[in-house]
Symmetry: C2
Subunit: 154 residues, 2 copies
Amino acid sequence: MGETRWLDEREARAWRGLIGVQQRLTAVLERELVQDVGLSGAEYTLLVPLSEAPGGVLRARDLGRLVGWERSRVSHQVTRMEKRGLVAREECGEDARGSMVRLTDAGRTSIVAAAPAHVAAVRRHFVGVLTAAELDLVGTAFERVLDRLPDIDG
Amino acid sequence: MGETRWLDEREARAWRGLIGVQQRLTAVLERELVQDVGLSGAEYTLLVPLSEAPGGVLRARDLGRLVGWERSRVSHQVTRMEKRGLVAREECGEDARGSMVRLTDAGRTSIVAAAPAHVAAVRRHFVGVLTAAELDLVGTAFERVLDRLPDIDG
DNA sequence: CGTATTTAGATGACGTGTCAACATCTCTGA
DNA sequence: TCAGAGATGTTGACACGTCATCTAAATACG
């Protein structure tokens, strides 16, 4: 192995930008979500696909696929949200291994109240700060990064 | 309050790209770091500024400022790393409230071994996948996002 | 059919991150 | 000088995420 090739200034600047946005933007959005509507980012993430599903019910497996989470992460989060009354677990008729996750009335009320504020925050702090050309380029470049990333089992 | 203005396709694509990169790129880098050199991302984050500091010592306050972490986060992480033998706490002479964090020999060995592999991974999965123009634009755009983000106390 | 493999989900242990509370120490200004 | 304000750090409670492990059910395949 030869000399390590460190990041040049151009690379370091993009990398610092990503790390900074990743940490601070996430923190700001999470905080606004919690303070304004009392939902955590993890709760919001699961409530969105549930609220869009017919009947407000999804199988745990499908819920995980929709949000890109692994099984145990979904299971733990559903357990926490069940305690908070946002969702309820039910048995799965078609597959006895399965577990259905149902949005409760309280869960639906929460997500309906939270979504507009969250979208506004995303616009205020991120997409609204970028030009159309920047949005396109970020979309293109990041999709390419994701395509080349090795898959992590699931 | 009027109708909610949702994200258009261009905005949603950039936003999905950021979320995806944030989750999957971070997961891949973290996993490679742990598997190749046995360091977590949090450990790596603190070891870098410590290894660059004269004498391998920094005051906890300054360490936190360098990495952008709040006090309790630094304290908890230093506690865990102290148990692993990567750092050691010492009293601060100048300010009796303070706490100095010193890199141990084991800590220095770890970071020296880890850095080249980590930089290579960042290049392989992120900066190496972007063109020079994309790197510049991401750097510019994300710095602007960060500049406009409200400060979160510290 | 029956066994091996795969899939679904739950769970406990542990590392991580935030918040609130607390104890100390330093600084500031009347 | 000294009381109040601010800074520094630690701690405990709790939410979050990953890993390894376990159980059970579905599926594949000889």
